[in-house]
Symmetry: C2
Subunit: 262 residues, 2 copies
């Protein structure tokens, strides 16, 4: 197999993000068909249709690559290069018209993300992270905040309803230790951690398609994203509790708070 340069992977990732942006912007004029998954979260016909479009594009350009999508069966998931797709991250936001939903695209090499894209169709925001490169937001290099103490940090979480009785205390503890909490930012919030507007992000029960695309984006801007034990996440991770921070100092302090609870 000829290994293509990272720029070529990025080019194809961006074309897919463009396709997704156009598709989602059109879809808001049509009433979606909604089903509820076993975990109670909604999924629409648009999620599935968009995943089919993106899979078709990958299959055409890279027939030997694997594809893992949120909605459909994985194809060749143990390939050296595997694409990870979440066509509409934040489906509840999408259904209710809160403009924080977006498309997450990642390329994994040997199970670890080397490319991550967050595209927000309703605001034209796009974050791009690549392993060992600086993160871009709408074409500009960005960096995380230099907040290094919890008592000055702004925290983000998608929804308190994702936490169960055991781990809601982790959220509450971090909320008590920080200045304020912003809710419901979905994937935008993780982009804004990379951009330095949010210091700390926490979520429970996320899957690989939710967190792996974020890792190159957060890390390439100076931050960290791990599970609540401080461990690196990869394709082998299952459903995980995750935490993202502006820098290693803040990450360490947040992990210490979490571990004190046990």
């Amino acid at each position: 197999m000829i290994i293509e340069p990272a720029d070529t992977f990025l080019k194809h990732g961006e074309i897919m993000a463009d396709l997704a942006r156009s598709f989602i912007r059109q879809s808001i004029f049509t009433k979606p068909k909604i089903e509820y998954k076993t975990d109670g979260s909604p999924v629409t016909n648009f999620d599935k249709e968009l995943e089919v479009i993106l899979r078709g594009y990958i299959h055409d350009k890279y027939p030997e690559h694997g594809i893992i999508g949120e909605e459909l069966t994985a194809v060749n998931p143990s390939a050296e290069f595997t694409w990870l797709l979440d066509p509409i991250d934040g489906t509840l936001a999408f259904l209710t018209g809160i403009p924080v939903y977006g498309t997450l695209i990642s390329l994994l090499h040997d199970g670890f993300p080397i490319l991550g894209i967050i595209d927000i169709p309703m605001t034209s925001d796009r974050w791009i992270g690549q392993k060992n490169k600086k993160t871009l937001h709408n074409g500009r290099f960005i960096k995380t905040s230099d907040c290094s103490v919890l008592s000055e940090a702004t925290l983000s979480t998608s929804s308190p309803d994702y936490y169960d009785e055991t781990n809601i205390n982790v959220l509450k503890t971090l909320q008590s230790a920080t200045v304020q909490t912003v809710y419901g930012g979905s994937c935008v919030a993780y982009g804004q951690i990379a951009s330095g507007k949010i210091d700390l992000g926490i979520d429970a029960n996320f899957d690989i398609h939710d967190f792996l695309p974020l890792i190159p984006i957060i890390e390439g801007a100076g931050g960290l994203l791990t599970n609540w034990q401080g461990e690196t996440l990869s394709k082998e991770s299952g459903t995980e509790n995750m935490i993202a921070s502006a820098n290693p100092y803040l990450h360490g302090k947040a992990l210490e708070k979490i571990n004190h609870l046990k």
Copy 2:
């Protein structure tokens, strides 16, 4: 005094919303100066500067009208016609880059809102409500959902942190009775109730500049917005707990749930 037609009031309201949209879109490139109000909520220099701009516009067009703004001292607040301004509703969302913040503008006649505008600068969404007229979203007439039972309703709330120990049970009770909750939608969520994408919205400890502009928007699309006792809100209301619903049936059922708690 010559009473102008409603269309003229709307024209000036829209010009102010245009001014606010341009101002806010520019402001994201500059770091704000942040202060915290006595209730712990943030306010920036941009909130204040934008309020000064909008007050100047009103003073120029309608020197005899009253002005009540969120950030500065009221001018002639008992005038027959009084403008109510919230230059950046959702300041925490603004600071953290979650694109649900917006400008709320309302015109009160004898203390009751006859015009309400929600403008979302980052998505170019604008909702317009006028007393006894149908509500518009981006130039199209909209209507609320026909959901009439709580068990099928999608609920919205800005932040669970706005509730105190007494009234958090009201939120929890409505959450148990409904399908799902979307968090952090700020003023966008109330626009989407008018647009039929959300069925029920609840918030605690809101002020008149937060809820009065929403009333003509929600009501002109078929919904209702009252306090938790089902009472109409006006300029004389102080800090209030508010609830908005897609229609009177759903509103009645939600109020019944709330009153059963007492």
